[in-house]
């Protein structure tokens, strides 16, 4: 079927989203912060002063000119590890966020649109996933899926992270499906598939983008938590494993609180940047939030 004049060009839609987000000061700060992290991650090998795995420096050294954040108990440069660690966090956040959002969208939409038994079954499954506490579930799955490294962590985060988004998207779908333009599409002879993906879905962009950032934040925090518990692959260099090693070698005891502080702060800042961007996303769907009204 030839596709006659779709909705506004995808790039244009994207651009509109970006400008809307940019117009919210909080979100702008978030975008800048995220940008810095992404650049750091991409150009880590160029920026980092040393190879993050090289362990031939002095052990547990304090901050010096050569090692701005000191060295680890294994004699690795902390700053280089922080810079390289951004790669894992950013990667996990985006990939896990993306996959859980895709699943959430697919399930949320069909769940909200369908009115038959399938909807009840989905309802049941989603409720189950919502009710089972994520972190313990993650730990069990992580223990089961040993050896997977980052891929495993992403899988675990996705398995436990899609349900919330699906629920939010469902209720939005339900409210959209009762709009006249959806009924009108039925009168235009559209298939259910097309109604869901061409009529309903594009109207939830802000919600989907929002749930993507939410899921990415959750994924970043989950990666950190799992790695900290030693359930990830401790040989990869991520902020979570840095915290794990710092805790393992008692960085607080050697007075190197920076070893714990720096990676944790990076995690918080990255997560904060995503939450800040989410403020702008709210603005996409809720004009009231765009007005800086004072009382």
């Amino acid at each position: 079927m030839t596709d006659v004049a779709g909705p506004a060009h995808p790039l244009a839609v994207l651009w509109r989203a970006v400008t809307t987000i940019w117009s919210v000061p909080k979100a702008r700060i978030g975008v800048v912060m995220l940008g810095i992290f992404i650049l750091g991650a991409v150009f880590a090998p160029l920026i980092a002063p040393y190879d993050p795995t090289a362990n031939d420096f002095g052990r547990s050294e304090d901050m010096t000119a050569a090692h701005l954040l000191g060295t680890t108990a294994a004699g690795q440069d902390v700053l280089s590890q922080i810079i390289h660690g951004a790669r894992v966090s950013v990667f996990v956040g985006f990939v896990a966020g993306l996959f859980s959002t895709i699943i959430a969208v697919l399930i949320g939409l069909s769940w909200g649109y369908l009115r038959n038994v399938t909807a009840d079954v989905i309802n049941f499954i989603v409720n189950l996933f919502l009710v089972i506490p994520a972190l313990p579930l993650m730990i069990v799955i992580a223990a089961y899926l040993q050896n997977g490294g980052i891929g495993m962590i992403i899988l675990v985060v996705v398995i436990t992270g899609w349900a919330w988004g699906a629920r939010v998207l469902r209720s939005q779908t339900q409210s959209l499906r009762s709009r006249d333009f959806v009924t009108a599409a039925i009168f235009s002879g559209e298939s259910s598939f097309r109604i869901v993906f061409r009529e309903i879905l594009p109207n939830m962009t802000s919600l989907i983008v929002g749930s993507f950032f939410g899921a990415a934040t959750a994924a970043i925090l989950a990666e950190a938590g799992l790695s900290f518990l030693g359930l990830g692959d401790s040989t990869t260099i991520s902020w979570g494993t840095m915290l794990f090693w710092a805790q393992n070698s008692n960085a607080l005891l050697t007075g190197q609180w920076i070893l714990l502080f720096a990676p944790g702060l990076c995690i918080s800042l990255l997560a904060t940047s995503l939450s800040l961007i989410n403020f702008g996303v709210d603005g996409l769907s809720n004009p009231r939030l765009r007005e800086g009204a004072k009382r």
Binding site: V131, P133, P136, V140, W164, L221, L243, L252, G264
Partner: protein, 326 residues
Amino acid sequence: MRFVFTKLGLLLLTLWAAVTLNFLLPRLMPGSPADAALAKLAQNGPVSPATRAAVEAQLGVPTGSMFDQYLQYLGNVATFDFGVSYTFFPQPVAGLVAAALPWTLVLVGLVTIIAFIFGTLLGVLAAWKRGTWLDTLPTVGGTFASAFPYFWTALLLLFFLGYVAGWFPTSGAYGRGTTPEFSVEFLLDAIYHAILPATTILITSLGGWILGMRSTMINTLGDDYVTFAEANGLRPRTVAIRYAARNAILPNLTSFGLALGGVVGGSLLVERVFAYPGVGYLLYTAVTNQDFPLMQALFLIITISVLLANFIVDILYGILDPRTRR
């Protein structure tokens, strides 16, 4: 009435599914409980074949087909008989859980409720004073704090307030050498020990409530009944609380029920850092030691409490919202 029954039926069905999942999940993990015990022993020197035999005999590692085990498990769950823990052999699981549960319930439960109330109030304030520092401070602070990893906040508090400043105890739920009892002294001691873990949970969960409440509240502030209330010259406080906030809180209640599950997960990390004798720590021990019976019981308890919390929230919702009260 039929409404309550359908809800109850669904609750039971979810419970059954959760129970079944709880049965399956641990069994998917590689390695047997005996392997876990032996791996621990092997760290203190070589393990002789006899030790392995003894450990296996002692733990009574599960036998029979999966299906038999499942039936037996269902029976046990129905009678609240969770068997004997492998890690803490020969302690019965029920006893271990019973000892750990109150701590988590009080710590996590209470703090979550406090965080909810406090965060909601801050959210109301932020929305009401939109654009002023009373809005900016909680919003930005909340955004930032909710991005802290639980364990990181815990470690920092532990280090700076516990060790460096020495203001608070660094581990446990009560003073060394005391036994839990009902006395004012003990209670104060327990509260003293709970301050750091509680603060951790408070800091990391407060932000979500502030932000959630703020945004729903801003929506209700634009609703016509709020404008009308103002037009009628009601006192600002009445408008903010009884008109705007009262309506805005409803959608947040649902998240509250679901959030409990997340907090239990977060408490696992917090409890581990503070060596707090709650369900979270126990669960961690169970998972790392392949302690099926203990794991199953804990998962069950957690799921039941989350389900129950949701159920209560549903009912509460009905009470607070006359529209659903039919």
